[in-house]
Symmetry: D2
Amino acid sequence: MHAIGVDIGGTKIAAGVVDEHGNILAQTRIATVADDPASIDASIAAVCKELSQEYTIGAIGLAAAGFCSPDRSSVQFAPNITWRDYPIAANVRELIGTDIPIVVENDANAAGWAEFQFGAARHVSNMLTLTVGTGLGGAIVIDGQLVRGGFGVGAEVGHMRVVPNGHLCGCGHEGCWEQYSSGSALVREARAAAIKEPAVAASLIERAGGDVSQINGPIVTAAAQDGDELSLHLLSELGRWIGEGAASVAALLDPEIIVLGGGVAAAGELLLKPAREAFLEALPARGHRAEAEFAIAQMGNSAGIVGAADLARR
Amino acid sequence: MHAIGVDIGGTKIAAGVVDEHGNILAQTRIATVADDPASIDASIAAVCKELSQEYTIGAIGLAAAGFCSPDRSSVQFAPNITWRDYPIAANVRELIGTDIPIVVENDANAAGWAEFQFGAARHVSNMLTLTVGTGLGGAIVIDGQLVRGGFGVGAEVGHMRVVPNGHLCGCGHEGCWEQYSSGSALVREARAAAIKEPAVAASLIERAGGDVSQINGPIVTAAAQDGDELSLHLLSELGRWIGEGAASVAALLDPEIIVLGGGVAAAGELLLKPAREAFLEALPARGHRAEAEFAIAQMGNSAGIVGAADLARR
Amino acid sequence: MHAIGVDIGGTKIAAGVVDEHGNILAQTRIATVADDPASIDASIAAVCKELSQEYTIGAIGLAAAGFCSPDRSSVQFAPNITWRDYPIAANVRELIGTDIPIVVENDANAAGWAEFQFGAARHVSNMLTLTVGTGLGGAIVIDGQLVRGGFGVGAEVGHMRVVPNGHLCGCGHEGCWEQYSSGSALVREARAAAIKEPAVAASLIERAGGDVSQINGPIVTAAAQDGDELSLHLLSELGRWIGEGAASVAALLDPEIIVLGGGVAAAGELLLKPAREAFLEALPARGHRAEAEFAIAQMGNSAGIVGAADLARR
Amino acid sequence: MHAIGVDIGGTKIAAGVVDEHGNILAQTRIATVADDPASIDASIAAVCKELSQEYTIGAIGLAAAGFCSPDRSSVQFAPNITWRDYPIAANVRELIGTDIPIVVENDANAAGWAEFQFGAARHVSNMLTLTVGTGLGGAIVIDGQLVRGGFGVGAEVGHMRVVPNGHLCGCGHEGCWEQYSSGSALVREARAAAIKEPAVAASLIERAGGDVSQINGPIVTAAAQDGDELSLHLLSELGRWIGEGAASVAALLDPEIIVLGGGVAAAGELLLKPAREAFLEALPARGHRAEAEFAIAQMGNSAGIVGAADLARR
């Protein structure tokens, strides 16, 4: 069965027709207005109609950056779009005029599911995906089932607390994992190093045109790839926090694989190696258990489309 | 279908016939020798034969304090009994001479499952059980499925790290949750208070016959119930760590209920109230989500028998 | 002997003639330009000349917000004024044309010294002053001697680390005491509470005109004085961090008194009480030692003038 | 002037005649009974009389492992000898029948003073000594003056808190510096590594005869000197905690030198190098200040005798 996956972002909607092997057969996109849910509904309907002209579609999956209801029909809350208990599936259904299944899923969960079905985790039944971008997102699969949470708010991995009284998080709490394991954390530490020890950070400062506030994640990664010691150290510390946090998750969930995605994962083995080492060092009962593998995500930017489509037809 | 549940401890085996409503129809027990797995096999077989005389048994569930294989046939490792990749189900089958299903489950998982099916969590689909005893054990149910882990080592909740460089755990790591949320933690803090501030701890010291090393969990709980301020504070701090750790679990798994069991749960609301408050205070995205309830476990000491039996017939 | 004390700020210079009892006999002030050290020299000279007309002056003390050389002649570095190894005493001497002693002291040290000689600590020989303002400054007196440090950089108490991997400090390090014990910390926590739990923070939000970003220290203090529970809790937590950090200082220095000054000290006993309790709770070897008292600073805004003057004539 | 220094331990008393250059001209020792202060007084008197036969003595200094009164006449409290507000100087004076000065000093302070006057710190005016033994002791000199504390309890450096909710200390508090920077910490971490990762700790386990509980500090140091990676890592981590804690002390006191003594200092540069690096990495305002040097103590086991003698004649 072919299904449509729709990835709804704050500035654009991307949609595609996905076959049962996770291939995207056709794709389209359209700009959106973040503070106008009704126009987003209309845009979703438009792209779905467009994609339905050449393909027979059996289901539609919507990937939304927000908390979704457990019955997969509405968005309860979103930080960047003004959805509040918003019945997005019903709205889209009415606009399209169809009776095929339409479901909404959290976008990180959808992307993780694509990884689980067709990507780096397709060979296992238990997976943790960590999306290391501006923040730290994630998806959890247990015994082949996606963990959505009892109230639809599961897999908010970035807000597991790793340091009591630690760095303030945008969520209002302190010490959240994403304050130590994200691109923002990498940049914060790089800039702090530039303040504390300008000589040591000379290469980073130079790459940022002399302006510490211009240091960003890609600059650190590029410097690390060129062998800059500070940048290698910063990625290593980032990896350490990722690995140590993943060991806490493993104490709870014992995944077979931990998949790293997101922009920072572009650092590849420079991030993966310290993450893996710290994970093993911190893993409870090591030596008396099998050890999860670490891998880089494979599905790229269309993971949300593929995952949402695939979840919709189940 | 009736099933037998067998709870295998270091010093004794308890077994019972369990009906489909979680009732124990008959029960028996026998002493064991911890360092002789073969004699444990024989004891298990003996109690199963005994219980099978009056009841028709459809399945046998063994609850073992160790890591169980994902196929539920063997114990991979146990801290207190010398099981190492030990095919306990096959051994027992051969001794009994039966072809009904025989499965082995982690004892904390079995007990948690009893709570989920017949006890404090029987009305929900997503549960976290915390067994606050000498250590901190637990069980996790997601969408009605018990989480055993990809390698059979899931739900080792006590080893989620909550304080980097924190208290040393018996597992060799530092800062494990059980070092802050267990009877041992309660006793450690009570004794430390007695060292730091004998005057403040006068009531506890007196209850312990003047010997700080004799302060134990029941003494603290009893003193708290009599209104001793220090003991109330100690239980409140214990509850705080339980609640804050549970909030980290909720970030990952979004349970509908958190069930507290184990000896320390005898403190009831004196523990539950601070746990609940700290949980809500630390819960990510509070106000944008439903909030898990807190409850005391209801199944008592036979939870392992009931849960193992019930899991065996599924 | 009368001495002049000059308190050099980023936007203005305040100076006064101080007698041997710490009284200010005459006072004047003048605006400054932060990035022009030469004009600051000239302004200092001008106020000194003005004050010298009616009084016979035996010494001049300059209080500067920066690191001063151990010989008290120059400012090695300042965060807000562009002094770099700047021979301020010699410059001022040349402009005035005098041979009386002219010395420069760190402004927090000067203010603390005033407290020690004439204020809250005048009855002891060992003192810790904590200035809880935007940051956390301090002064230390041991056996009647001001601690300037081996290289002139002592008593930077706000940068003692209290939480590994804790909040980022402006200095580039993490977990500095001032990130937990300052007006900025108070405001950060108040705003975070408003994000996490708007209902609980309703009174604070209302006092800030509905704008969370307008919550500030005086608002929290005022709300606490009106009995607002959250604000009382926030001051109590601030006090706890002050007290616990002071206990670490006491492990090193065993002061007889801890004096709290700065804007936040306006909260008085609402801050002092939790600070004192946390200090005693965390004090090593309590019960086997005398316990330092806590007090609010008494010298007010002219402490820098008085202290600089008094230090200059020694 | 010649003075006698007496180092009073739990099992023996060592005493010597010390000249003004810190040389020991004559030495003697005698066994003691820890729980009999009167017999200790008598033993001290005996060794002093013995040493006074050949030398003209101008003062007697007693080094005691306890809290000494600010007037240096009595021991207020000691953990290992049953001194409680004990007038040791007066007692010894009466037994000897002399009117030369007799003073009592904390033993760590006495040893540190020897280092300051005649050893590794003789060229500076501001010093921090860290005695890394079973625990973490220390001595502080500021502007050439020994810091005894306002109540005689200063320089208990090991009880500065470095990790909130960290390892339990014998003092009843949590997270004390000595729980991270002592021989006990080194051994705890080595044993934990042997539990967590026996393969990685193979060399240590072998050196301990296969018994993890026999791993001790000298074994780790010897293994590190032979290039054992784990042991090098353990010393490096120990050094890191020493250095980071010392940076906090430097924020307060700005010493010119940090002297490491005690049994663990035998590791020499293997400890000193990571300590120095971590210190500089954590030092506030680095780049805008002079940097303290690190050195190994030079006075050896007789530091207490030399320091007590020298302090007595001042």
